[in-house]
């Protein structure tokens, strides 16, 4: 893209060779216009993923710094002349494989998502299967051409299987997913057997990893009775319970969005199951939660103030209370703790309106703990935490961690919270903190010999 004289255009393409980083980055331009060197020029702007941003600059020398979601700073110097039309396309040169994020990949083709997830986890189940299939096909062709090739070494016998068809390898075992409604998992107990849950059909498989889409267009906010879980049984017997963020009403067009579920049994750390939702407006915020780093959105603070995404999402909580909680988690992580926000008080309303969403009580308690306005605020936070515990397992991983932290923090003054803190610690021991949405993990049942 050409630009008008005396300006620059900036874009960020994520990690080189990858196109799935949906998080915006922050650009800061600092420098000196010719003839006015004693008055440094400073600009800050957000560069949305995959988009270009223009900035007019007077003739002079400037330093452009891009703060990436990882915190890393990329910088270049630029000299703006009378007809400069510099276009800066930044890439993350180092660390090309930053891990796979389903939240950052939603919207792409199923095949692309599955292939990239498999590449990130090292899942070779499809390649292994195809290799075995090719071996059988090759052996069949050899046999049909007139029998086996004679051995080169004397005494070595060619082992011939007369029934090659019968020797075809079985396809890899695949996970199964059932939908459970109204479940209240106990972190101390074994995995629920799920036999009363309905099987959910998959969208696509790639080897033993698969994608599911689970729709729900219920107009009412979720309650304990309507809350949806996916019970995932992995080929090795492990069970995972994924909390489904349903119903999810998209911010930009009020359409209901299904929960997307990716199950990759080869994922070596964390949970094999990942949950995401496709929401163009909130995708960036959810992507931060999906990396387990809500605080990493800190550099976007200025942009969040000019485009009040967090404020608006919390304000419109009745449309999508789960989105309001996600926005609040990010807001509480990035805004200075001693700063009061317009939406602080709305979090209390959110808890009252949605008593069955534990995260609504957790964000309210978090706000009270971080920004106490009176001596009674911690008692109110303790009440909110009791409500959160009663409402069940938080929808968001970060909610589980904050619940535990605040129960521990407040238990010296509210001793009844100590036992709940132990429960929350056990719950935290089942989740994958690198994911946005809560997935509980259970070990495979022990074999009795």
């Amino acid at each position: 893209m050409m630009i008008t004289p005396t300006g620059i255009t900036i874009s960020f393409g994520g990690a080189r060779g990858r196109s799935d980083d949906s998080r915006p980055v922050v650009a800061q331009i600092f420098g000196f216009a010719r003839g006015a060197e004693d008055e440094p020029v400073s600009h800050e702007m957000v560069v949305p993923a995959g988009e270009t941003v223009e900035q007019k600059l007077d003739e002079g020398l400037y330093n452009v710094q891009l703060t990436l979601p990882s915190g890393r700073i990329l910088q270049r110097n630029v000299k703006i002349g009378p007809e400069s039309n510099e276009v800066f396309h930044f890439f993350e040169d180092f660390v090309p494989n930053a891990g796979f994020s389903l939240q950052e990949s939603v919207g792409r083709s199923d095949e692309e998502v599955l292939v990239e997830a498999a590449a990130a986890s090292g899942n070779t189940s499809l390649a292994d299967y195809q290799r075995r299939m090719r071996w059988v096909e090759d052996a069949t062709r050899t046999w049909q051409r007139g029998g086996p090739v004679p051995p080169k070494r004397p005494g070595v016998r060619y082992r011939v299987n007369p029934d090659l068809e019968a020797n075809l390898p079985a396809p890899p075992d695949t996970p199964t997913v059932r939908l459970l409604i109204g479940l209240a998992p106990d972190p101390a107990a074994e995995a629920p057997d799920g036999s009363d849950g309905a099987f959910i059909g998959f969208e696509k498989f790639h080897g033993d990893s698969g994608l599911w889409r689970i729709p729900f267009a219920g107009p009412e906010p979720p309650t304990r009775q309507t809350r949806r879980w996916a019970r995932v049984e992995l080929p090795d017997g492990r069970v995972e319970l994924a909390s489904l963020p349903l119903p999810w009403c998209r911010a930009d067009d009020d359409e209901f969005e299904p929960a997307e579920l990716l199950v990759d049994p080869a994922r070596g750390e964390g949970a094999a199951t990942t949950v995401a939702v496709h929401d163009r407006r909130l995708g960036g915020l959810l992507a931060y939660l999906d990396r387990g780093q809500a605080g990493a959105a800190g550099p976007l603070l200025q942009e969040l103030e000019s485009d009040p995404l967090i404020r608006d999402t919390i304000l419109e909580k009745t449309k999508n209370p789960l989105a309001a909680c996600a926005a609040a988690y990010v807001g509480l992580a990035v805004y200075p703790p001693n700063e009061r926000e317009e939406w602080d008080v709305w979090l209390g309303n959110c808890m009252t309106i949605f008593p069955d969403i534990p995260d609504a009580a957790i964000v309210h308690a978090r706000r009270l703990v971080l920004r106490p306005t009176s001596e009674g605020d911690n008692a109110r936070a303790a009440d909110a935490l009791r409500q959160a515990c009663a409402a069940g397992v938080p929808y968001f991983s970060t909610g589980v961690l904050l619940l535990r932290e605040m129960l521990v923090l407040l238990s010296p003054d509210h001793p009844d919270l100590a036992a709940r803190a132990v429960e929350a610690d056990r719950l935290a021991g089942r989740i994958d903190p690198s994911q946005a949405f809560t997935v509980l993990r259970y070990a495979p049942p022990r074999k009795v010999s």
Binding site: L61, L68, P336, P372
Partner: protein, 408 residues
Amino acid sequence: MADPALIFSDEADRAGTHVLLIGIGDYPWLEGGAKCKTPEHHENAMGMGQLTSPPVSMRRLADWFLDGFANPDRPLASLAMLLSEKKAATYAHARAPAPAKVLPRGSIDDVKKAVAAWVKRAAGRRDNGLIFGFCGHGVQSSNPVLLCRDYGSNTESRFDGAIDFEQFRIALSTRQPDYQLLLVDACRTPDVENSLLGQATPGSRLIDGVSLTTRDNAPAMQSVEFATSLYTQSWGAENAPSLFSEALLEALASGGADRNDQWWVTTSQLHAALATYMARISQAEGLVQRPAAGQLQNFRISKPDRISVPLYVRSTEPAIWAGPLRLEARRGDLCAEEMDYVPPGDAAALQAVSECTLRLTNPSQKVADVVYEVHAKFAPNSPFADTVEQIIAYPPEVTCELPVGKRP
């Protein structure tokens, strides 16, 4: 000095910064350790062995706190250190008591006592600061678990010698000082996670939390930097600082200086500098290691006298590295930094050259002191013409892409 870990103390009645550093390299009950003898010891070791990098890293960090740390609001008030090496460790420094005393070796009991003394020293004033540094083995089990020297000594309860870092952090946030910086350089691999699903994280919290009413009902400001992201490894070379420590020392010294906060090294800019330096350092080693911020509340750490910026000189024409050249970074009429580049002898090493590094130290951050001209002067028989490029040198690092043309 009743605390055996204490190596520096300033008793002045003013706000100060209290530092505790723990470097665990010798693990007697892990692979290669003097007491790793039974099958249970080997099993509990989970492949972990002896380290040499943590004590080196913590010594270097202690040197920096005694020589380079400059915080006029909260100067260094105390520095304590625990080191686990093959032999009992001492630490000598001009500002430390002489003769150098033997330091505690970092068993869980040593750590508990040192933490208690450190917290007590800092408790006198709300406006004090705390800095905690740990370098050694670690695993992830819901929370980060940091392994002390005696991890595995009790084969029936191996995590008796370990710290539940998250519970420690939460308890610490209920304590007095308002500003708490925690630096954790340890692996966060999920070695034990699957075997502990649904269980409380093992390890000691070291201290109890107290009522938040002692802190006007709000927890302390905390900033937590992990050397590596969740479920990944942290690396260090033999008998040298860890990769994270290298980056940390550079970032603390001035790389994390914040343009928007009068060039103080702040916690948020420290994270940016760490992420920037670690990308380069780990890439050079062929590794992937990304630091991660656990909590990121912004406050000031140190105000460097001088700001030093690494300058990476590259070129649009990679062939320039095949011949000798002279690089100069000029500030006005002054040659601030120079180097004579000589290409390496063997072809493989030459192929790996893509940039040269100079270090620029700005006398101040005013315009005249941060704008440099980078000159490249080629040998008379070089096909390339001399060239110059103007740059602004701000931390954490600056790159200069030289536009190179052929001689007519």
